[in-house]
Structures are given as C-alpha cells and as structure tokens.
C-alpha cells in the first residue's frame, strides 16, 4: 500500500465525518420537531468489517444515512437526545481533526520526497 492509497482512504473518512456532522446538525436542528427520528451515518464500522474480511474493493463502500430508532421517542414522537447529539458532534469533530492531521503528515512526507528536504 503506497501513500496514495492511504490519503484516498483518509479523504473518504473525512468526507464521511463531514456528512455525519451535517446529520448531527440536522438532528439538533430538529430536536423540537414532532415525530422526527434521529439519523446517523454508517461508514467506519462497515469499512472496518470489510478490511477485516480482506476485501480490496473498498470504493464500493460509501457512507449511508440511516434512521436510528434505538432511542425511545418522547410524547411528541421525537427521539433526539440533545446530550447524545452534542457529544457525538464533539467526537466527530475530534475524528475530523485526527484525519486532517494524518493527511497533513502524508502531504508533508510527499513534499519532503519532492524537495529532498530543501
């Protein structure tokens, strides 16, 4: 696996985190919308399973938005928990920072390879 494969994977992870940030934002924006079911993005776990199974065609795995009914709904049929969403938002932001840092170090390495440190 060369560095290009890695940056591709990291970029896709970043794209998935961006999508998740939007979905969490939507859950928070709809915390008072009657009948709203919280949504979440599935990507990393699917990717992890595929990698564990030794699959090579990872491009076919894309982030999916799914409705999450595991939370009990309140009297208005809304199952958004603000605390849960805020902590997911923060976790997601940290993930994004991590991926960005990983990508940055890959770019720095490439630059080093191109310039030879000059």
């Amino acid at each position: 696996m060369g560095p290009n494969v890695d940056t591709g994977l990291i970029s896709r992870l970043m794209a998935a985190t961006e999508l998740r940030a939007k979905v969490i934002a939507s859950n928070i924006a709809n915390q008072n919308t009657p009948g709203y079911t919280r949504q979440e993005v599935r990507f990393e776990d699917v990717l992890r399973r595929a990698l564990a199974a030794g699959r090579r065609d990872l491009d076919g795995i894309t982030p999916r938005i799914v409705a999450d009914r595991s939370n009990p709904a309140g009297p208005d049929g809304n199952n958004v928990s603000l605390e849960q969403e805020m902590s997911s938002l923060r976790e997601n932001q940290l993930r994004y920072e991590t991926y960005a840092t990983m990508l940055q170090s890959q770019f720095d390495l490439m630059r080093l390879a191109i310039t030879g440190g000059n």
């Binding site: 794209a15 961006e18 939507s26 924006a29 915390q31 919308t33 009657p34 949504q39 491009d59 770019f107």
Partner: protein
Amino acid sequence: MSGGSSPVNGLDGMFGGLKIASSGMAAERARIDVIAENIANARTTSTPEGGPYRRKVVSFAPLLQRALDGSKTYLGVAEPRVRVDTRTPFQRIYDPGNPDGDADGMVMLPNVNTVLEMADLVTAMRAYEANASVQESFMKMAERALQLAR
C-alpha cells in the same frame, strides 16, 4: 476516489452544515417570537377579530432532501408554520369593572398560560444555543480543512 474528499469540497460541505444549523436557529427564533407575542397578549381581552386573543403555536417539520438514488434524508428544519391554538379553551374570570365583560361581570381571557409559555421559552433558547454551537463546530472543521491547503 469518491467526491467530497478535497479540502475545497470539504469547505463546500461545511457551508451546507452552517445552513442546516441556521435553519434550526431560524425555527427556534420564530418560536421565541411567537412566545413573546403570546406573553405580551396574555391579558388582551378584545382583538380586531372580536373576542380575546388566541394563543399561537409554531409547528416544525423536517426539511426533506432527496438524494440522486431516491433515498430520503432530513437535513435541517423547514420554514416553521404559525398556527392558532383553537383547542385550549379561554379562561373565564369574574371582573365586573372590565368593559369587555358580559352582563354577569364575567370576562373571557386569552387561552395563554404564561408559566407554560415561559417553560417553552427556555426550551427554545436552549435549542437556539445548541444550534449556535453546532455552527461553531463547523467553523472549526472548516478552519482545519483550510489549513491543509497551506
């Protein structure tokens, strides 16, 4: 490689996120405005339409977004609708000095419960703040994506 992967696309994604959070803020603000109107008119006994003021409520609906493959997702809140609360009955009190009272001195007061409105106001304000911190989070992510281009 899939889309949305370059820092530029990433920024574009952030703008979308800002819009989602601001749709939530707009909805909560509309609710706060309506609550303020209700509280201000809690003792308005005669309106141009006749009779006491009727409490207003804001109803929220999620903003539906259809993807290219036909799947549906909700991203943001739709423009909130203001409706008149016709279910809650008016309060009837004895106030003989009131010009809007009937022959028995009974006056119809609006169907506004100020305690309920205040509780709603607190929820709306908290929700507004939550959406504001979502925007802050998007700003941080966008700044980080920008740094990659340095």
